[in-house]
Amino acid sequence: MISYPLSLNYSLAPGWLEPFVSGLETGAALARKCDACAAVSFPPLRVCPCGATDATWVTLPGTARIELRTYGSDGAFGLVRFDGADTRATVRLVDIAPDEETGRIMASDAQRPMLCLTTMTAKEVSHG
């Protein structure tokens, strides 16, 4: 057999997604609000389903409702809808109990833009 170890270290420029990527690094949900129809996408869409490309970055509250979840040896993940967004998002669930229906975005400690949802504080829940 031919053994060929290979280590790659990518430097990926986020381009127009930079506000979204920077937001994830700090635990903020930066979404795109369409200037034409006001639809809010998170993760952001460059072209709105209405066809418009002009949009404004908006910061969502960062809280989300879990619609579907999966768990197992691959980890825990969910299909969630962030408050203020018109689209759903797929997220990693971190320290969220099986009966919790909501969560908030958290900053990833990994050096990459992970979209993670974690448990809300009692204060956040009471204000939810």
């Binding site: 999966t70 197992g72 990459r112 833009p113």
Partner: protein, 393 residues
């Protein structure tokens, strides 16, 4: 305008498995191509173009596999193109070859799908790479796995379809049982529903036995302008329709994340070209990366108005009105990604012609067969319809 009828003059599939015999993708590609060429009654010099399907350079460390295989296959000098569309790569290569013949740009085209998805890298590394089959900067960076995304989509599907665990078991058992009669299959098994229920949870509700394996292997086709074929192959099965479509790359941006809408659109386009309806299909190879994906696929393709009712009634069983995945599908036959769509089309052609594995060959030849492949979470869909040569003549 040139508009040739296109015949599958040659078709071959190597064994799919985890190779431990020292052979590599060059061997597998050559084996599949040589067998397909022999079946076609053509010669190497007759081949005008080569289309190669391979999902990822990461799998084999070859950034330009089409040119390399052109030489390996004795075709140096022909036009050589690599086609890539995730899991749909093989079927997209079939489409590219089909259009080349239809347009008159080529008389005889070779399609080779190949990938070393099992043996070249550790399984966990391959699964990590598969995680980048979606939007790498959102789902990929989040670490979302293929199994997790499919599990979420399947759960959404069950919101509009009453599916039980036993239905997932039925699909799993049926495909792997079929694979027991396919001497080239990776995972012919006779697991019970209890075995499946006791296998580890990978991403609920998917357990290990609901998932397709990582495989090595290759498949090849020769697509020909029927008018330029020797008499011996003029009545071989024809490709009568092909359609491809995409869905939104983000599962969460889809209005109905449980529906494989790209598959519906692709099927509509293929049926329009073939001038048939989905109800005309009486054999299908469906992309069953996971057990539930097969059910989602059947529904999206319009092969059944009530997929769960028809599954329970045996419509898709080997002796049913529309058998599905006699090869074993991805779950049973295996899944060397680039080869998958090519192998599905080859299987359909061999079954239409009555040349498939004897224990699996339907006694009554189907009239219309469907090869259904997709990439991502059905983000890219490509389907191909084949018919008896006599019907299309």
């Amino acid at each position: 305008m040139h508009d040739a009828t296109v015949t599958v003059s040659g078709a071959a599939v190597t064994p799919f498995n985890r190779r431990r015999d020292g052979t590599g993708l060059r061997d597998w590609a050559a084996s599949a191509f040589d067998a397909a060429l022999a079946m076609s009654d053509l010669h190497r010099g007759d081949i005008d173009a080569l289309y190669v399907a391979s999902e990822s350079d990461f799998f084999h460390l070859q950034l330009n596999p089409a040119s390399v295989l052109a030489t390996e296959l004795g075709l140096a000098g022909v036009s050589a193109t690599r086609c890539e569309g995730g899991g749909a790569s093989g079927q997209l290569a079939v489409h590219a070859a089909l259009r080349a013949v239809q347009s008159g740009a080529a008389r005889h085209v070779a399609v080779v799908g190949v990938d070393p998805s099992a043996s070249s890298l550790p399984g966990d590394d391959i699964r990590t790479l598969y995680g980048f089959s979606f939007d790498a900067w959102t789902d990929g960076m989040t670490g979302l796995t293929s199994t997790a995304l499919y599990a979420l989509s399947y759960q959404a599907f069950t919101e509009s379809h009453t599916v039980s665990d036993s239905d997932l078991a039925t699909v799993t058992i049926q495909n792997r049982s079929n694979a027991c009669h396919n001497p080239g299959a990776h995972l012919g098994r006779t697991d019970s529903a209890e075995d499946i229920a006791n296998s580890p949870v990978i991403a609920h509700p998917y357990r290990r036995l609901h998932c397709s394996p990582l495989s090595d292997g290759a498949a090849a086709l020769i697509l020909s302008d029927t008018s330029h074929l020797p008499t011996t192959r003029k009545s071989a099965p024809r490709v009568v329709g092909a359609g491809a479509a995409t869905d939104h790359m983000h599962l969460g941006a889809r209005a109905k994340p449980g529906l494989f809408s790209a598959k519906t659109r692709a099927m509509q386009r293929a049926c329009a070209e073939a001038d048939v309806t989905p109800s005309a299909v009486n054999y299908a190879e469906i992309y069953d990366a996971y057990a539930g994906a097969q059910l989602q696929g059947i529904a999206a393709l319009g092969l059944s108005g009530d997929v769960i009712r028809d599954l329970r009634a045996g419509r898709f069983a080997p002796n049913g009105a529309c058998p599905i995945n006699l090869s074993g599908g991805l779950m049973g036959q295996g899944a060397p990604v680039g080869a998958t769509g090519v192998a599905q089309t080859a299987t359909c052609a061999l079954i239409l012609e009555g040349r498939y594995h004897p224990d699996l060959q339907p006694q009554t030849l189907p009239q219309i067969a469907l090869a259904d492949t997709h990439g991502g979470i059905c983000t890219t869909s490509a389907v191909t319809l084949l018919a008896q040569g006599a019907r299309a003549a």
